[in-house]
């Protein structure tokens, strides 16, 4: 494994220049680095690179929202590199072939740290700090760690065993997780302080489903999405009946609808008050749900839930129309009068988002807007008003995503380490710059993404597994080769030796200022300056040598591989063995 926490140190100490994917990733995972390894079929090493940046390669390989793909430079040519699936393949191959094997990290510090909430945010802080050599304890209310990943994201999207394995890895490094301990009841900030914990990270997430606020909401047969999903995940017997209405347009609505379908409901409908375009759920998730047979009704909103003998009989809705954009930029739905209509259902699942549970947050750290109990923190350092008390994840941002929780965890870990070593929390943070420029290739025909995500595999026989892995390995290599490696060379982790870190040099006396080099350089790394002499930006230059071949005056050569050297090397090879 690559020297732990080195990356964190780098981030802390020097200005980093990232390719767009890495900049877009809230956890700044070194995407270019691990994709370069996948190109070489080095899946195991690729996972090590991911682990160096965050502890959940297999989880994020499955359910991350992948903001990285939206920013990928390859979209200038055709489509983004299928980053999420590449991560998944690497992680799966590691799981199948190399079995991740964590080694306990020696404790180097005396200061004990407490983390409240074993969701992705809390676990990431634990992971980062244990790698710095701190003794870390995580307190979790539920019987098992994992937060939403364990109890809300359904098994058919994210297998429980995957979550369990990745958490076991963190534990294997030496993190202690105490479950069935509730903050606010069994422990408090004071009790943790008395027990000698020097810093606390609060990551209790948002656990309470928002209420619909319509009559009939407390009837039997109305279950909030998070409670519903949690009960299913806990293995409780949940009956939904034949017809189910899910209210909402986010991912938890989609997950609830698909879960209800799997529990045997014949008709599952999602009621959303805006139109399809405004849905916060990912289009791919919506497509999956439609494939499962879930129906969508847009521009409808429940007015009341109608009862029959104490149970749900139907949900009465109003039609909506879209008005002016609201604060979130989405068009505000306005009810159409006299448009009441009913859907006959046995069960209603409100999936309108989650709120934090005010009782599990100490009063002193709650933000100003007390209607929504969220913890207020310094955006950069994640420190709360109380020194030494940090917070991150959903409980700070409101329901967001795993990778944002991981990103928060990483930032908090840097702060906590600084806090404990007496360093300034702010100094020199947030110094990530993007540099990369790939020209738009209008001439190249758009291609379909050639690496299709695959369905969750049933248990397979050994030879089937080998076959399967071979195919996905080849596919993954192919897909990985689409990555342009558009970030700076250091991203590929110096020393891995995938290609020569070469740079172009201009012999200024020979340069005629024709600027042809600038027009052929794919990375915009070279252009003439005010004196009409070509200048190379070494950070951007990848050493492809195209400018050198095309310079009419032969004024450019590569530092390492000059033409002379290439000729000598090639001639020395003297043919093939």
């Amino acid at each position: 494994m690559i020297e732990v926490s080195q990356e964190a140190k780098k981030v802390e100490e020097k200005t980093r220049r990232f390719p767009p994917c890495r900049k877009a990733c809230p956890a700044n995972v070194n995407i270019q680095g691990y994709i370069a390894l996948i190109q070489r079929g080095k899946f195991k090493e690729a996972v090590d690179v991911i682990r160096n940046d965050m502890p959940f390669p297999a989880i994020c390989g499955r359910v991350c929202f992948s903001p990285c793909e939206e920013e990928c430079s390859r979209t200038n040519i055709d489509q983004a590199v299928n980053i999420r699936n590449l991560k998944r393949v690497a992680a799966d191959i590691e799981r199948e072939v190399a079995k991740p094997n964590p080694k306990p990290i020696p404790i180097k510090h005396d200061e004990r740290l407490a983390i409240v909430g074993a969701g992705p945010a809390g676990l990431t802080v634990a992971y980062e700090l244990v790698r710095l050599g701190y003794p870390v304890t995580v307190f979790e209310r539920m019987a098992e760690p994992g937060g939403m990943m364990r109890y809300c994201i359904p098994d058919f999207r994210l297998e429980r065993s995957v979550v369990a394995d990745e958490i076991a890895y963190i534990q294997g490094l030496g993190v202690e997780i105490r479950t069935n301990v509730e903050f606010g009841k069994d422990i408090t900030l004071e009790s943790l302080g008395k027990e000698g914990y020097k810093a606390v990270f609060l990551a209790v997430g948002t656990q309470e489903g928002m209420r619909l606020g319509v009559p009939g909401e407390d009837l039997k047969g109305v279950m909030n999405a998070v409670d519903f999903l949690r009960d299913v995940a806990l293995g409780k017997k949940v009956t939904v009946g034949d017809a189910v209405a899910v209210v909402g347009g986010g991912n938890s609505a989609i997950d609830s609808a698909r879960t209800a379908k799997r529990l045997g409901a014949k008709d599952v409908m999602v009621l959303y008050r805006r139109s399809r375009e405004e849905m916060p759920a990912l289009p791919s998730e919506v497509a999956d749900a439609e494939r499962d047979g879930v129906k969508f009704h847009f521009l409808v909103n429940p007015k009341q839930i109608i009862e029959d003998d104490g149970k749900v009989k139907a949900v009465e809705c109003l039609r909506m129309q879209l008005g002016e954009p609201d604060a979130s930029g989405r068009r505000r739905p306005i009810p159409v009068s006299n448009s009441e209509h009913q859907y006959v259902v046995n069960c209603v699942i409100p999936a309108l988002g989650q709120l934090a549970n005010a009782s599990s947050i100490p009063k002193a750290v709650i933000g100003k807007d007390s209607r929504i109990p969220l913890i207020a923190v310094d955006n950069l350092t994640l420190e709360t008003r109380l020194p030494g008390i940090f917070a991150g994840g959903d409980v700070v941002t409101g329901s967001a995503s795993i990778i944002e929780a991981v990103g928060a965890g990483k930032r908090a870990a840097i702060s906590i380490n600084r806090y404990l070593t007496g360093k300034d929390l702010h100094q020199g943070r947030e110094n990530i710059d993007e540099v990369t420029w790939v020209k738009s290739m209008g001439n190249i025909k758009k291609k379909e993404s050639r690496f299709e995500p695959f369905e969750h595999q049933q248990p397979m026989k050994m030879d089937e597994i080998v076959d399967y892995l071979e195919t996905i390995e080849r596919n993954a290599t192919f897909e990985a080769c689409r990555c342009l490696g558009c970030g700076p060379c250091e991203e590929c982790l110096e020393g891995i030796g995938l290609c020569e870190p070469d740079k172009a040099v201009v012999e200024e006396d020979l340069c005629v200022g024709c600027n042809i080099c600038a027009s052929v350089c794919p990375f915009g790394a070279i252009a003439k300056d005010e004196n009409n002499i070509a200048k190379v930006d070494e950070l951007l230059c990848k050493g492809c040598g195209i400018c050198a071949t095309r310079c009419p005056a032969q004024a450019i050569s590569l530092k390492e591989l000059t033409n002379e050297r290439l000729i000598t090397l090639t001639l020395m090879s003297g043919g093939m063995k």
Partner: protein
């Protein structure tokens, strides 16, 4: 093994990447960052050393880690093949192969196929011509063509003019460009030969045409251009015959 043709191969770091280590241990292939970096001058220089064939490997378009280095290489190779035919060698001696990570062909199979092809060529073995004055002259002229400013400028703006359009909003087809390039290469080849000759001694058009085995009118045509560009000048007149000299220093 001596009976095998002397062949070299140059490939980019990204082709055959899954079994790159295997290839490295088995062959003498030279690996470079991008096949687009292969300079025409270098290839001519390699062939001047009596290498019978050059095999190049790059990523199959539209994939290239440097976006279009492979297309640049394609253009270089087309130009070189034209040059080879001018010096009476088969264009097949330079082969550019596109490799896709999904491809099934192994490196070995390319190698075998290429060396079979080379040994069946009419001019094989080229090594037999080593030391021949004409061969040397041709190769040197070819090298000079490959370093020529005008030609390299043309190659440099090719991607822009063919795929986008130039500043005048013109766009030309790849075929048109090929024809244009062929013309320039042929003309440049004769001019470079003249330049090489005149650098050694001052000559009349008649002498040059004899030496180059070309019609005097054609030689004169190029001389006019070269004079115009200030590359050659009339040194003296012998009787009524002007004697030309090179103005280049080296």
């Amino acid at each position: 093994m001596s009976f095998k043709p002397k062949i070299v191969s140059v490939m980019c770091n990204f082709v055959f990447c899954q079994n790159s280590e295997e290839i490295a241990s088995k062959t003498d292939a030279t690996r470079i960052n991008c096949i687009g970096m292969i300079d025409p001058v270098s290839i001519i220089e390699i062939m001047r050393n009596c290498v019978e064939g050059v095999m190049l490997f790059g990523c199959k378009p539209p994939d290239c880690h440097y976006v279009e280095g492979n297309l640049q290489a394609e253009r270089t190779v087309k130009m070189l093949q034209k040059l080879l035919s001018l010096i009476e060698l088969e264009p097949e001696r330079i082969e550019l192969n596109w490799i896709s990570p999904m491809g099934d062909r192994t490196y070995d199979s390319y190698e075998r196929h290429f060396s079979d092809k080379i040994t069946s060529l009419a001019t094989y073995p080229m090594a037999a011509r080593k030391g021949e004055a004409k061969f040397e002259e041709d190769m040197l002229a070819a090298k000079r063509v490959a370093s020529d400013f005008r030609l390299r400028t043309m190659l440099g703006i090719e991607r822009k003019t063919v795929d986008y359009e130039n500043v005048y909003g013109e766009k030309i087809s790849s075929e048109q460009f090929d024809d244009l390039l062929d013309e320039v290469v042929s003309a440049e080849f004769v001019r470079c030969k003249i330049r090489n000759l005149l650098e050694k001694e001052s000559l009349s058009v008649k002498d040059m045409s004899k030496h180059l085995n070309l019609a005097p009118q054609e030689v004169l045509r190029h001389i006019v251009t070269l004079r115009h560009k200030g590359i050659v000048a009339v040194e003296r007149v012998e009787g009524t015959t002007p004697i030309y000299a090179s103005l280049e220093t080296n």
